[in-house]
Subunit: 114 residues, 2 copies
DNA sequence: CATCAGTATTCGCTTATGCTTATACAGCAT
DNA sequence: ATGCTGTATAAGCATAAGCGAATACTGATG
């Protein structure tokens, strides 16, 4: 069952969006937006813990949303094609609905009790 | 703090994607893709329960991702502008990464133990 | 081989949130 | 008013999944 299947498509799309639905993963993605980065670079930029970044990157990689290349003992990650465009499409919506989305009361997306 | 703010942007984007990260909500969105629909229409098309659909639509509406119009005792919902484009951008990615995304082992996005 | 830097993995906990069932509310007809 | 249709809300439960801490790999260097 490929992407062609209507019902499977919805399922797969949901999973894709889920990959980007977490604040931490999205900040990692943002860090990769300018080009490939080592894990430790991402850690430095995002302020997340190393295991956390590693987990999220593994998650994104397993889902095929980032590419990975090992050089020596370092591992470089980069976004696959299409991702920047998806982010742009999201930002277009946010121009209009940003305030509302940001204030959405039904979920907090990882914003742990703060 | 508007969409302009870098950190706030990531947060808001995460929430936006979260809105589309659920299988049920996404099937509802898909149902709305062809135009405005009543709640009961969406129920019929998706096979979800009426309270469930109502909840998800309320969620999407509060987040500003769908527009709502009441006519008599019926309520019509439709997608706001930019959403179809976001879905298309997602599909572009899925053409390449669809198989991988669909098989992503780290989460199941609402696919309850089946 | 010993050590260190960079990365990945596991465990356990906590929280978010989707679902079901029951029920309440709103508007129209008789 | 009564009843019916369409929609929304609430309570309670079950589960997904993010996080911190500890630890295991892996490859480079001396």
């Amino acid at each position: 069952m490929s992407v062609e299947s209507p019902s499977g498509l919805v399922e797969t799309r949901a999973q894709l969006f889920h990959g980007f639905s977490d604040r931490s993963r999205l900040s990692i993605v943002e860090a990769l937006r300018e080009g490939e980065r080592r894990v430790s670079d991402v850690v430095a930029v995002t302020g997340l813990t190393q295991p956390n970044v590693s987990m999220h990157l593994a998650c994104l990689w397993e889902c095929g949303l980032v590419a990975r290349e090992k050089r020596g003992r370092e591992v470089y990650y980069r976004l696959i094609e299409g991702v920047p465009e998806l982010l742009s499409a999201a930002d277009v919506i946010l121009v209009v609905a940003g305030e509302t989305v940001g204030a959405c009361p039904r979920y907090r997306v990882g914003r742990r009790a703060a």
